[in-house]
């Protein structure tokens, strides 16, 4: 079923007209209400009148995650707090999270786009949807929740974790849809096997997986082990949360809800727009959000856009599975990690520049982050217990800042390879 056929199957001309009209209003609104946007536009010599259609999008300045942080917490909201009915926040890069706010209209729009994505995934009113994304500041849980209710399907708001209970409810309530991270789906499959639960005995038929990158091989593995159709969903809190785009049952790219979120592909270095079909960095402009509209937000995700009509009948532009990042951000068990965060933790603990290397592995189904640190003079002690304490302190401090557990390994000086004097920071060994 196509939830909003008029939009989802619109011609390119119709879509451009909708986008243009909404873009003009959005630019007007941010220019007059958000000092940082106004300053950036003035810097480029732009006034709202210069943006006459979606064709003019590339004239506008970019927005980075740092802009949200610099205006922490509510500095980029375009409405007074009395109109904001909910906030969400994502993990921050230096302790401060990035905060987004939603008006009542924003929540209605968000529910609508999530409902569309559920329909794309083949979910209907008769389905029972087990939402195993975290509920709370993270957008995953509540975003999926209200979209599912809006569709009219049944929600099991179980949130993340508690695997035994997940399996029990899956059996007892007859969940037909599971929404979680793909790595958690694989973990569920493993625990099912340990508990002698035959996936064929369950009603489960669809999985909606997102919040971290995953490959076609992982899709095959999940589909084989859980006997379901595995659908990729994409979203980020700065744009709205889950529901920015999602695959349909054709599993041939994720349809972007482009009447609300206009995508562009830019060259990650020159920042110039790239021709359709080329791989580059994905950039989004929201054109209906009221709480915190966002102009040309650099996702740093690398992908390409497909403008052909899909076999499912939708004309909404599709984005391929993300093929990497244009920055050094890592996604570990759904948490965004920048090497610079770890560096600042290490810097706080010593006077001199630490030499470290991050190694990401997938052990079984879960991502493991290992931090190798060279034991320079400033760290070295003759006593084992002091070195063990140092290891634990590093582990503890990183955990406090990032919210994830890491393994710390102390290594000898100069063992970490240097390129042009600078250490190589990250080795990602995940075969995903």
């Amino acid at each position: 079923m196509i939830w909003n056929e008029k939009i989802e199957c619109a011609t390119r001309e119709e879509m451009s007209a909708i986008q243009s009209e909404r873009l003009i209003k959005t630019v007007e609104r941010v220019y007059h209400n958000v000092p940082s946007y106004r300053a950036k536009m003035q810097e480029k010599g732009l006034v709202p009148g210069d943006i006459k259609s979606v064709e003019d999008l590339s004239k506008l300045p970019f927005t980075e995650k740092t802009d949200l942080r610099d205006n922490y917490p509510f500095g980029m909201f375009t409405v007074p707090m009395s109109e904001i009915v909910r906030v969400h926040a994502s993990s921050g890069t230096t302790g401060k999270p990035t905060v987004v706010g939603y008006t009542r209209n924003d929540l209605t729009m968000w529910s609508e786009v999530v409902t569309r994505t559920l329909c794309m995934a083949g979910v209907g009113q008769d389905d029972i949807v087990q939402i195993a994304y975290g509920y709370g500041l993270f957008t995953g849980g509540l975003g999926m929740h209200y979209g599912t209710e809006n569709l009219g399907a049944t929600v099991i708001p179980i949130s993340g974790g508690n695997t035994q209970k997940q399996l029990q409810l899956m059996q007892d309530f007859g969940s037909s849809v599971i929404a979680c991270t793909p790595s958690y789906a694989l973990f569920l499959a493993e625990v099912m096997k340990e508990n002698n639960i035959d996936p064929e005995s369950l009603k489960l038929r669809v999985g909606i997986f997102g919040a971290e990158p995953w490959s076609e091989n992982m899709r095959k593995e999940i589909e084989a082990k859980l006997k379901i159709k595995a659908i990729d969903i994409y979203g980020l809190s700065e744009v709205v949360g889950p529901g920015v785009s999602c695959e349909c049952e054709e599993q041939a790219g994720m349809h972007i809800n482009e009447d609300h979120f206009i995508p562009e592909i830019i060259h990650p270095e020159t920042l110039e727009p790239m021709p359709p079909g080329e791989i580059g960095e994905l950039v989004f402009t929201t054109v209906t959000k009221e709480g915190i509209p966002i102009i040309r937000y650099r996702t740093h995700d690398l992908t390409r856009l497909i403008y052909d009509k899909c076999k499912c009948g939708r004309t909404l532009v599709r984005m391929e599975k993300c093929m990497g990042r244009s920055d050094d951000m890592l996604i570990i068990r759904g948490v965004n990690v920048f090497p610079s965060q770890i560096e600042s933790v290490l810097l706080e603990m010593s006077e001199t520049e630490p030499h470290y290397l991050l190694i990401v592995e997938r052990e079984g189904t879960l991502d493991v982050l290992k931090v190798m640190i060279e034991v320079q003079e400033q760290f070295f002690s003759d006593e084992i217990h002091k070195l063990e304490e140092l290891k634990n302190k590093i582990k503890h401090n990183i955990q406090n800042t990032l919210g994830i557990t890491v393994a710390v390994k102390l290594v000898e000086p100069k063992t970490i390879e240097r390129t042009a004097g600078k250490s190589k920071r990250v080795i990602d060994n995940r075969k995903i």
Partner: protein, 139 residues
């Protein structure tokens, strides 16, 4: 007597120990004793050598993390019960020991290397109890 012990940080990987010994050997530094304190992924090599300052310098030049630490050297007789006697003295005076190791240079004497928490207190006690211990200033 108090001597300088050389400590080296080592990762648990093949060939590292070999490298340290070669570097010292090539520099003409003699190793009187060494011991390794190990954990699951790293170890600390502790050495008593003929020239600790030179050893530190040369190992540093070879990119090792090196430190010298003051330790107490006590000579005991090489016979049953003499180590027990030494430890009894330290224990009765509440000297806490971070670590220690022993070696024997010739048949009639054993040399104990002790890293006490309070090195001065340990020295004072050993001086005052010289009668009970064979305590020497010679290595």
């Amino acid at each position: 007597m108090i001597i300088k012990q050389v400590s080296v940080f080592l990762e648990n990987k093949r060939g590292r120990l070999n490298e340290v010994t070669h570097i010292l050997g090539d520099a003409g530094i003699n190793i009187s004793a060494f011991t390794i304190a190990d954990t699951s992924d790293f170890g600390i090599l502790r050495l008593v050598v003929s020239d600790p300052d030179k050893a530190k310098k040369i190992l540093k030049q070879n990119q090792f993390s090196v430190q010298t630490t003051d330790v107490v050297l006590v000579k005991t007789t090489n016979e049953p019960g003499s180590l027990a006697k030494l430890l009894e003295v330290l224990n009765s005076e509440e000297i806490f020991i971070e670590y220690m190791y022993s070696f024997s240079k010739n048949d009639d004497a054993a040399i104990n290397v002790i890293r006490p928490v309070d090195i001065q207190k340990c020295m004072n006690i050993l001086q005052s109890r010289k009668d009970k211990l064979l305590f020497t200033d010679e290595l």
